[in-house]
């Protein structure tokens, strides 16, 4: 029998990898919530399989819809996250091994406070809120998702943008080793998205770190993603590593990929069709094993202007021709 010296024993031999990762995740949850509520390796083992650590001290936020929320399975297995593959189930299948923590966010550009910040410091000063939002994908499907996060406005103000800052630009992590989808040239990497300052400080804009009261799964953009519910889903950038205050409008990823199909604003708009398909209606996602009856339940519904958030955001676009600025 081989007896190994202590030096040969990696920590992963002592703690099974599964439990080890889960402990990190609990730590992540605790740090984000401003204090470690759960603790110890024993807790890690009792997380239900496939689920994430619970976030604590989450307040009910404003703007939540009372529509039926999509199931956890729908939300975490049907994703567009090309960094982990272009198929809808690819992110779920390919992101399991991804370990987001530790994570830093670089703040740069026209603001008073620039630097590189640990995610905990970036998020922690703010109370977590649950916001149940509709999400409308440019591919004409939609979901209702209970996000947990902090208002983007609070974070933007924290870094004190200068008067010449007109846009906030976000980037996703660039790491083909850990994000297999980046090894193909499906899109130009890293993923870039942006908002005008007015859009960024709109009370609806959220930086999400969780879903269903739990730490954000990797396939949904862990550890932190944007959520702008009045815009098509591709604006809500995932896995954010930088926030830059810019004077000029960024060239965003999908706009760059197909400028006649995807614009900078990308506001949900039933009157302006995608060149290849209609945006007038959408299918509410919902898995079913109820045979034909269950399938027929998933009828299409009318798409609402600004995804139904017009009262909060329509004023941002007054005088703007939304047909040309799609």
């Amino acid at each position: 029998m081989l007896i190994r010296k202590p030096a040969d024993i990696r920590s992963s031999d002592i703690t099974p990898k599964e439990v080890f990762l889960r402990r990190r995740e609990l730590l992540q949850a605790g740090l984000m919530a401003g204090g470690l509520a759960l603790g110890g390796p024993a807790m890690a083992a009792i997380l239900p399989p496939g689920r994430r650590a619970k976030l604590v001290d989450v307040a009910a936020g404003k703007f939540s819809t009372d529509e039926t929320v999509n199931s956890y399975t729908d939300i975490t297995t049907y994703n567009n996250y090309y960094e982990f593959g272009t198929g809808k189930s690819d992110p779920f299948e390919n992101a399991q091994e991804f370990e987001p923590m530790p994570w830093t966010v670089k703040v740069a550009g026209h603001c008073e406070k620039t630097g590189i910040f640990d995610l905990e410091d970036f998020i922690r000063p703010y109370a977590l809120e649950e916001r149940i939002y509709r999400l409308r994908c440019v591919e004409a499907w939609s979901m209702v998702i209970p996000w947990v996060g902090v208002p983007l406005a609070d974070i933007v103000r924290q870094y004190r943008p200068l008067s010449n800052a007109k846009y906030v630009v976000f980037e996703t992590l660039l790491d083909p080793e850990r994000m297999p989808g980046q090894r193909s040239r499906a899109l130009h990497w890293p993923y870039v998205e942006g908002l005008t300052i007015a859009e960024a400080v709109n009370p609806l804009s959220l930086l999400a770190v969780g879903v269903y009261g739990e730490v954000l799964p990797n396939q949904n953009g862990a550890p932190m993603r944007l959520v702008v519910p009045w815009k098509y889903g591709f604006k809500s950038i995932k896995g954010i590593v930088s926030m830059t205050f810019s004077e000029t409008r960024p060239r965003t990823t999908w706009e760059r990929a197909a400028p006649h199909e995807y614009g900078f604003y990308a506001n949900v708009n039933p009157e302006v069709d995608h060149p290849r398909w209609s945006q007038a209606r959408e299918r509410r996602i919902g898995s079913s094993v109820g045979g034909l009856q269950g399938i027929l339940g998933a009828a299409k519904q009318e798409t609402l202007m600004f995804n139904g958030y017009g009262e909060h955001v329509a004023h941002l676009y007054e005088g703007l021709d939304l047909r040309r600025n799609f």
Partner: protein, 212 residues
């Protein structure tokens, strides 16, 4: 036996719809439509592979299956179309609810969305081919039958093009179909050239006039 095998993808859709062994995922209607569309395209290509395989391997019995494979292509494309019409566009839902169905949405999509227009054109070709696929029709149509059934090449090209056009960004899957189709069509051009060359060589040896 082969018949049952060809039915498996359709049976899997039904099984998954009831959660037997698998599921149709978070967007079942799209999944059904996509599966039928993919199998339609695959069967077109499989049917087109019969002749090259037969010629290259000399196994003439393969030809017996060509009609059935072609009809399965038609079956899956038809199911794809019906999934779109009845489920995606909601004709069945409206019919069950006894509501008026807005046909203008259908005609608009077919005539104004180019990727659907070409898919629909391909479907119409396959309808014509399926309707004339019986031995009786073949005899009745004589030499026009072969002309008509060369339309399968056009349907295949339109099918791949249709797939290509609706993809958002990642063309790797339609590219695979396009390459397979290119090989199958390329083979025919090559084979045809070879035949005419061999033919004309034989003809000139025999001192017969060459006709091009």
């Amino acid at each position: 036996m082969l018949f049952v095998l060809c039915l498996v993808p359709a049976l899997l859709v039904v099984a998954d719809a009831y959660g037997i062994g698998g599921t149709l995922g978070a967007n079942p209607i799209e999944e059904i439509q996509d599966r039928f569309g993919n199998w339609g395209l695959r069967f077109i290509l499989i049917a087109l592979a019969v002749t090259p395989l037969r010629q290259l391997t000399g196994r003439n019995w393969l030809l017996r299956f060509r009609r059935m494979l072609g009809l399965f292509a038609f079956f899956y494309v038809l199911m794809h179309f019906l999934a779109w019409l009845l489920l995606d566009q909601g004709l069945l839902t409206s019919a069950i609810a006894g509501e008026e169905f807005d046909w203008s949405v259908i005609t608009e999509d077919i005539f104004e969305r180019p990727f659907i227009t070409i898919g629909f054109a391909a479907l119409l070709i396959l309808v014509a081919l399926a309707a004339t696929s019986t031995a009786g029709q073949r005899r009745r149509l004589g030499r026009y039958w072969q002309k008509l059934h060369n339309g399968v090449y056009l349907a295949a090209v339109l099918g791949v093009w249709h797939y290509w056009w609706q993809v958002k960004k990642d063309f790797s899957e339609p590219l695979v179909y396009a390459l397979v189709l290119a090989v199958l069509l390329g083979y025919r051009v090559w084979h045809h050239r070879l035949q005419t060359r061999v033919g004309s060589a034989r003809n000139s040896r025999a001192g017969l006039p060459q006709n091009h």
